[in-house]
């Protein structure tokens, strides 16, 4: 059973619908007992880091996430769920969960590429340049693009935690992977077939980074 963490951060049902489409059973919950019984956990999120951390702490889910990672079962972060697994976010100057060393930064105000000013948020389809292979991203063309919508990006301090980077005026870490954790800035549930394939791969993944 796949569990989606419910911490009142945006619309969790889009992840649920994608899982339904690929035939995976799931539950959406904030109950730690139910989360612990899951085989895989998805940590999604849309919204602001400040409110998200308040809700997580209230339900003691921040410390629970660390326990889960320690046990070695697979965890997937999506969008805000990826940004707040780092130590700190510049958004609302928030101390975050700290599963991965580093911080979440805001895109610089003057962002440009080949003379054209780039908009913030980074909204739309963009590709990911992978540094190495990973089971969750197998069977996907390197040409695939994914749906992004964000103004902040994760910046892990350890380069080896970066699995993929994306170019938006600057090259930022769009996918990070550490042991049984894989986390992405884009929305796999809104990224068409390649996105559904990532979710499918994740549901089959045992948490080993081969």
């Amino acid at each position: 059973m796949i569990a989606i963490i419910d911490y009142k951060a945006g619309n969790l049902t889009s992840v649920a619908r994608a899982l339904q489409n690929i035939g995976e059973s799931f539950l959406i919950t904030d109950d730690i007992k139910k989360l612990e019984a899951a085989s895989h956990v998805i940590f999604p999120g849309v919204g602001a880091a400040g409110d998200a951390m308040v809700n997580l702490r209230q339900k003691k889910l921040d410390t629970w996430l660390k326990d889960w990672i320690g046990v070695g079962k697979p965890l997937m972060g999506i969008c805000l769920g990826t940004q707040i697994i780092l130590d700190y976010s510049e958004e609302n100057k928030t101390d975050c969960v700290g599963l991965v060393p580093g911080s979440t930064k805001r895109f610089p105000d003057q962002l440009a590429s080949s003379g054209q000013v780039l908009k913030i948020p980074h909204m739309g389809w963009n590709s990911v340049e992978f540094k190495r292979s990973h089971p969750v991203f197998s069977d996907i063309s390197p040409e695939a693009e994914y749906y992004f919508v964000h103004s902040y990006y994760p910046a892990p301090s350890d380069e080896s935690d970066v699995l993929g980077v994306t170019d938006y005026g600057i090259k930022f870490c769009s996918v990070l992977a550490v042991k049984n954790l894989v986390a992405m800035q884009f929305h796999p549930e809104k990224s068409g077939r390649p996105g559904l394939q990532i979710l499918r791969n994740f549901c089959r993944w045992r948490g080993d980074d081969l």
């Binding site: 619908r17 849309v46 780039l118 909204m123 389809w125 749906y147 170019d167």
Partner: protein, 259 residues
């Protein structure tokens, strides 16, 4: 680098497309869910639904359509038309739409943008702007005026001022429709699009006037739009989305080519 988005727009009334769309077999399809699936398969990057339903029964049917679309396609889609308050937004978003688009309601009550952005995140709130060229005056320094009610009512609001205002209130994106170009199939209003796109930091979707792939190329380069809305040129099967994307790619305009 980010791709330019190609976004088909579907007009819905009482849960049915206002005009049937012909696909394989040349049969008219009136179900917005079926047509959304077809465009998803063809490589649409996003889909816009514009609900022109007048009755509240019709609105309930639309919510059901949104739910079915959300189970069928796995790309973002937005719903606009008749969104008047926070509760209307909530219903559409909970039904599975990524974004809601507000137009005349925001003109009448700009705070709805701030409320929506605070409640759901600015990425959910699209400002729809219907604009007419009126000539430069003291009241309308950009020469472009906001109109409502399908272009029948002038508001006295300057389009450039309104775009900036909406951005400051928390709109995450602007869907910019030129009433002058709309329905002509003779090309987008490039000056207007460039003017607005250069003046805000949020993405701008150009709308109105698309008749051939060349028009999209123009608005995505000279018009500096981040995305292009299309309707008739794909609904009548003059072009497929794939053909349009191939053309853009030949013009060195990057779009998502794999789906």
């Amino acid at each position: 680098m980010i791709s330019k988005r190609i976004i088909p727009c579907l007009d819905v009334r009482d849960g049915k497309l206002t005009k049937g769309i012909k696909f394989k077999g040349n049969v008219d399809i009136g179900d917005p869910v079926e047509v959304a699936r077809e465009y998803y398969e063809q490589g649409a990057d996003e889909i816009v639904f514009y609900d022109i339903t007048a009755s509240s029964e019709g609105r309930d049917i639309m919510i059901d359509v949104v739910k079915r679309v959300a189970q069928t396609i796995f790309i973002p889609f937005s719903v606009g038309g008749g969104i008047r308050n926070l509760e209307d937004m909530r219903r559409v978003i909970l039904a599975g739409a990524e974004k809601v688009s507000v137009n005349s309601a925001a003109v009448n009550e700009p705070e709805i943008i701030a409320q929506g952005s605070k409640a759901f995140g600015s990425q959910c709130i699209v400002l729809g702007m219907d604009v007419k060229k009126v000539g430069i005056s003291e009241k309308i320094p950009s020469g472009y005026e906001i109109v409502i009610h399908g272009g029948r009512k002038y508001t006295g609001i300057d389009a450039l001022w309104w775009a900036r205002k909406a951005e400051s209130l928390g709109a995450g994106e602007i869907c910019l429709n030129s009433i002058d170009a709309d329905g002509t199939q003779e090309g987008y209003e490039l000056n207007l699009t460039a003017l607005i796109s250069d003046s805000v930091r949020i993405p701008v979707i150009a709308s109105g006037g698309a008749g051939e792939p060349r028009h999209l190329a123009e608005v995505l380069t000279k018009g500096r739009a981040d995305a292009a809305l299309i309707a008739s040129m794909v609904h009548y099967r003059t072009y497929s989305i794939e053909e349009i994307k191939k053309y853009l790619s030949e013009q060195s305009i990057k779009t998502r080519m794999l789906w």
